[in-house]
């Protein structure tokens, strides 16, 4: 157990230190997302949409920061690690790959939280978004379980991206825009119709956003997809399912890599 935790700490370290050592992220990951958020806010204002829609956009921007981290920092990470030669050292090390992924996830969460908080503070201040948190405990729980489910999904993708054998950025693009759309990043997911919304619920971001909107903007209840407690339950189940699948795909990736010789190392 101590060895597992040491490996988690070791792999989380570059991400934590990266946030402190590279201040340029402030421009790229706070200012630029704020521009994108502003565009949606002004569209809603021009259309005289209910004021909570502006809050939807801020919340969507915050959770998108995590989704981007899941894609670029988790799902495609083993691909980048293979390119630099780190992956073979991770596989050769006695630490299980799960501990490496857990370290990436925790480091990524820390890193992204600093960005997310900045977007939250600046966004609410700039656009005077009014939040009424009805159940802080449930909100915190849904937020954390939503993150757990998203990063578990990222762990699952990390092996799949290697197995699919495409350039990681191509796969990231595939999962970026469609997920923005299907998760209802900037609009109530119910607008897509109940069937599409339910199908989109396998994406943790969809349920997480829907539940958090209800708990932060009570006037948005008419746009809600389902009860936040049910959404919490489904998110918990998704976390477990994605973690189990991540483990299965990790084993499969390692076995296939060792059999074919082309997955784990760049040179073969």
């Amino acid at each position: 157990m101590m060895s597992f935790l040491r490996a988690v700490k070791g792999r989380a370290y570059p991400r934590v230190i990266g946030a402190l050592r590279e201040p340029s992220w402030m421009f790229w990951e706070i200012f630029l997302p704020l521009l994108s958020i502003s565009a949606y806010v002004f569209v809603y204002r021009a259309l005289h949409a209910p004021p909570e829609f502006e809050g939807f956009v801020i919340l969507g921007g915050i959770m998108t920061a995590y989704w981007l981290n899941v894609l670029w920092g988790m799902a495609s990470q083993f691909y980048w690690e293979k390119e630099t030669g780190n992956l073979q050292h991770y596989i050769m090390a006695p630490a299980p790959l799960e501990s490496i992924l857990a370290g990436m996830a925790l480091g990524g969460m820390f890193n992204t939280t600093t960005r997310a908080v900045s977007i939250l503070l600046l966004g609410t201040w700039l656009f005077h978004v009014h939040m009424v948190i009805t159940d802080p405990l449930l909100l915190a729980l849904i937020f954390l379980i939503c993150l757990a489910a998203m990063y578990a999904m990222g762990m699952m993708f990390s092996s799949l991206f290697l197995l699919w054998g495409r350039e990681a950025w191509v796969l990231n693009s595939l999962f970026e825009e469609p997920i923005y759309f299907l998760s209802g990043q900037n609009f109530p997911i119910k607008a897509l119709g109940s069937y599409v919304a339910l199908a989109a619920s396998i994406i943790p971001l969809t349920l997480g956003l829907d539940a958090m909107r209800q708990l932060i903007f009570p006037s948005s209840l008419p746009y809600a997809l389902m009860n936040p407690y049910i959404e919490l339950l489904i998110l918990s189940l998704l976390t477990i399912v994605y973690l189990i699948l991540a483990r299965i795909f990790l084993k499969k990736m390692e076995l296939l890599g060792k059999t074919k010789g082309t997955i784990l190392t760049r040179w073969l």
Partner: protein
């Protein structure tokens, strides 16, 4: 208790691709004793790295079995991994924004080494490998030699029982390569149960470091012995080194009596030749042959046999 650190039994490794089938290893058999500094010498593409990948549990053999410290590499990787480590030449592992010290500490955590112990070992290794001055330098700002010293430290930090050095001095300047070689030599003599497997295509490196050397070519071990014994195989022979200008046909050389094999390399203004021969009297025939064909000999030297000559005699190819 196993006396062998490594045992390879009838190992084949076949890669299938769209372009066809490549037999990277063909029925390889070898044993490396505990405490031995064992060399795998062969040209690029000979199968050295494939064999290392199998022994480091990164690749499965297509057929046959390999054992490290008595454990099967295909089935008992969990027992092998804490006991081994590996460094490759031209490696770019680690993260550029971390310092050398931070990178080394990070890798030590994957082996469950307590931070305090790891930090102590990092300082010791930095002192031994003479890179104390760059411990706080970001990895992305390192030179090739500094980077490879860090890679070497990364692998030795975990105090492995068996270490695999895959072309560890590839592309390094003479001084750094010498420092790494002398460090490896010191390390193995400190404790008797330490084993090093070194792959290289630098014959002087293999000759200088290794207790025994396996010569590998086209996936097969074609000779295995001490450097001294291998050279005895060509003791009755010698090498003739020549530089010829301009580039002319040299295929006639093999028809001269006493010539066993030769290799030629194209240079800017001519050819460089290494001819392995067994009759001194034939040197005149070779010189005469070049003059008659319009070739000018700009350099000629007779040398004692080297490992490259052993390789040349056995395969008809050069090592580099």
């Amino acid at each position: 208790m196993h006396v062998n650190a490594i045992e390879v039994r009838n190992v084949w490794r076949i890669f299938k691709s769209r372009d066809g089938i490549v037999e990277a290893l063909k029925d390889v058999n070898l044993e490396v004793r505990k405490g031995e500094l064992f060399g795998l010498l062969g040209p690029n593409g000979a199968g050295k790295t494939t064999l290392i990948r199998i022994l480091t549990t990164l690749l499965l053999p297509t057929r046959g079995e390999a054992y490290v410290l008595g454990y099967n590499t295909a089935k008992e990787e969990d027992k092998i991994r804490p006991l081994i480590n590996m460094v490759s030449g031209g490696e770019y592992s680690g993260y550029g924004l971390l310092t050398v010290k931070e990178n080394l500490w990070m890798f030590s955590q994957f082996y469950g080494i307590p931070s305090r112990v790891a930090k102590g070992r990092i300082l010791e290794l930095a002192k031994e490998l003479k890179f104390e001055d760059i411990l706080n330098k970001k990895v992305r700002n390192l030179s090739t030699g500094q980077r490879q010293k860090m890679n070497i430290a990364r692998a030795f930090l975990t105090d492995p029982k068996v270490i695999f050095l895959d072309e560890p001095t590839l592309g390094l300047d003479v001084e750094v390569a010498r420092e790494i070689r002398s460090f490896v030599k010191r390390w193995i003599t400190e404790k008797e149960d330490r084993t090093v497997v070194l792959t290289t295509h630098y014959m002087h490196e293999a000759e200088q470091l290794c207790d025994r050397i396996a010569i590998i070519n086209e996936g097969k071990i074609i000779a295995l012995d001490t450097a001294e014994n291998l050279k005895k195989r060509v003791s009755s022979e010698f090498s003739l080194l020549l530089r010829i200008a301009p580039k002319i046909d040299v295929s006639w050389i093999k028809n001269i009596e006493g010539v066993l094999n030769f290799i030629s390399r194209v240079e800017d203004d001519g050819l460089r030749l290494r001819i392995i021969m067994e009759r001194e009297e034939s040197i005149g025939d070779i010189v005469d042959g070049f003059i008659r064909r319009g070739g000018k000999i700009t350099y000629l030297s007779k040398e004692e046999p080297t490992l490259e000559d052993v390789f040349l005699k056995l395969t008809g190819r050069g090592l580099e």
